[in-house]
Amino acid sequence: MSESSKLADAARRNFLAKAGVAAGAAAVAPGVFLSTSPAQARPADEPVSSAKRWGILVDTTKCASDCSACVSACENENGWGSSEPNSSAEQKAHWIRSVTIKNKATGFAKTLPMMCQHCETPPCVDVCPTGASFRRADGIVLVDKHICIGCRYCMMACPYKARSFVHEDLHDQKPWAPRGKGTVESCTLCDHRVDKGEIPACVEACSADNHNALIFGDLYDENSEISKALKAKDSVELRADLGLNTGVRYRGI
């Protein structure tokens, strides 16, 4: 048997195997489907669609002032936080941070998480010269680090200080969260988890701690937990004056 026909045989077997797509999908999926998951696992070869829009509702009334479970979970999941030994505190990356706000008039204080707000019309995407800053069809705002030239104009444009620039060489990144020197990064809404039907690490950690301050889901699906919660009680988007229609919304401020 010649070399080329051997290869073709192998290819044919694969082709036949692909005919059993259902079986294949089952093979890749075990452990992926969570019974409580708001996201249905999408087949790996299917692109994201604009029929969905992912978002998070932050219920600040449930957010404990001494808790940073969401921040630690994000650090662990995406590998930032302790990866930049040379950078100063001002230079280190922050994908999500715990912010304490205190009303100047009344003195009332509370804590809440801040991250990329995944705007519908993101200023960072508008200003990016190369299109590295982009909004995925399902509403997740990302940086394509392959074409990011590191100009930092998106950081100038972001009203939420959600983005960080990597100031030094990194090592031992997570395969699912590539990040490196000279490029800008921010919360990805854990797109690698969402793409296989899981929820973002911060949301999972918040539930695991029984705070349940974060609800993740599809804003376009009126039966999703997040849509119901948004419809039932009031919530705001930060810097609503800018009209950005953020995917992350806050209750209790």
């Binding site: 040379n86 100063s88 939420y160 030094e168 060489d169 800008v184």
Partner: protein, 404 residues
């Protein structure tokens, strides 16, 4: 009758010439070294961080880019507005515009997180980004100005010289509008997000560019012992006075508008009253040393006729320009973002705090390198090509000029 103007290369044999070239080359080499170090280590060796994301390199780069477009103004006055006295200055004006722009762009590019991806910046365009537009505007400006110079310097092409001048004039207005809009289009920050940024940058370019032009003109005529008459010089310095006043007017309107809106009181208070270094730079350097003092010197009955005083006034305008850009760029970023109006904000990521910035020697060296590169280009160009008229004495530029 029309006088024909003789342009000639400078001799470029004196020790002074080689010392100047050597000095500039040394600065450029140092800047190259600083860049390699920054790019190899990463930006952590600079004073820039995730709060002050644009720093000293951007102050230098924007100064050079804005001054570049302003430097071309001298040629435009000759071509577009038909003032004969400016025509002999056209070649130097175009040369200076190209040199300053190249100096500025190289600083901007070398500060990128990935200067190695310049090809990406040239091949992937997001046309909604004013930055992407600027890449086209800057490259176009170089091309348009080269053509303009060619029409000026090549006798056979002289007949196309006026249309080329018009195109260059329009292009430079659009270019500086684009540069100002880098800030004007930033909705997020209190210090920017104002349409006046674009025309203010145009006026700033007139002033910065002319100040640089006057200094370069005076230095090159002085060092080559060519005659430079009062007619040309006084015309230029009076024009500089008008531009300084115009910039002051725009600064006044910009701040008055902000002062009217309670929303902007925070940033105004920060810049005008209690912003520390930024307040000092604004009042003492930008307004005092960089605007009022040179204005007084230029229009002073005796000082206004002294060459050292004119040169000093131009230098002061440049110092004021750096202060102004520093206040706009760094001051604007130092002031915290208003994410929660009415709240005091604190976090591990410096929310709600005035951000501090102390530039490192590396980023300053890179910026100075850009200036050195621009001057190097001018020095070499006037040595090898005919940019400078042999004489700019009063009788040569304008036979009807009264002798001073």
């Amino acid at each position: 009758m029309k006088l024909s103007m003789n342009y000639r290369e400078i001799e470029g044999k004196s020790a002074g010439f080689w010392i100047l070239l050597g000095g500039l080359a040394l600065v450029i080499a140092l800047a190259g070294g600083a860049t390699l170090y920054m790019e190899h280590e990463g930006h952590y060796v600079t004073g820039m961080n995730n709060q002050i994301v644009w720093g000293m390199p951007h102050v230098f780069a924007i100064f050079l880019i804005v001054a570049a477009s302003g430097a071309l103004n001298v040629a435009s006055i000759g071509t577009v507005f038909g003032k004969p006295i400016y025509k002999p200055l056209g070649r130097l004006s175009g040369l200076l515009a190209i040199a300053l722009l190249l100096g500025g762009l190289i600083v901007l590019v070398l500060d990128l997180g990935h200067p190695d991806r310049l090809i990406v910046a040239m091949t992937y365009y997001n046309f909604k980004s004013i930055f992407a537009w600027n890449i086209i505007l800057y490259n176009g400006f170089l091309a348009v100005t080269v053509v303009y110079l060619w029409m000026m310097m090549e006798r056979r092409m002289n007949r196309y010289y006026r249309p080329a001048g018009f195109v260059a004039f329009l292009w430079r207005l659009i270019l500086t509008t684009g540069t100002g809009s880098i800030f004007g289009f930033l909705v997020a920050r209190q210090a920017y997000d104002a349409a006046i940024m674009a025309p203010m940058f145009v006026i700033m370019s007139f002033s910065y560019g002319l100040a640089v032009f006057i200094l370069v003109l005076m230095a090159s005529y002085n060092w080559t012992r060519r005659p430079l008459g009062d007619a040309v010089l006084f015309r230029l310095k009076n024009l500089l006075g008008v531009y300084i006043a115009a910039v002051l007017y725009f600064v006044l309107v910009f701040n008055l508008t902000n002062l009217y809106a309670t929303e902007h009181h925070g940033i105004e208070r920060f810049i005008l009253l209690d912003g520390g270094i930024y307040t000092a730079l604004f009042w003492i350097v930008q307004i005092g040393l960089g605007s009022l003092l040179p204005l007084a010197m230029i229009y002073h009955p005796t000082l206004g006729k002294s060459r050292p005083a004119i040169a000093t006034a131009a230098a002061l305008v440049i110092i004021g320009a750096f202060a102004q850009l520093y206040v706009i760029l760094i001051g604007g970023q130092a002031y915290p973002l208003e994410i929660f109006p009415g709240y005091e904000v604190s976090s591990a990521f410096f929310d709600g705090q005035v951000n501090s910035y102390s530039p490192s020697i590396w980023e300053i060296t890179l910026g100075v390198g850009g200036i050195a590169l621009a001057l190097m280009i001018v020095t070499v160009a006037v040595r090898v090509l005919r940019f400078l008229p042999e004489s700019l004495e009063d009788a040569a530029v304008d036979p009807h000029a009264k002798s001073a």
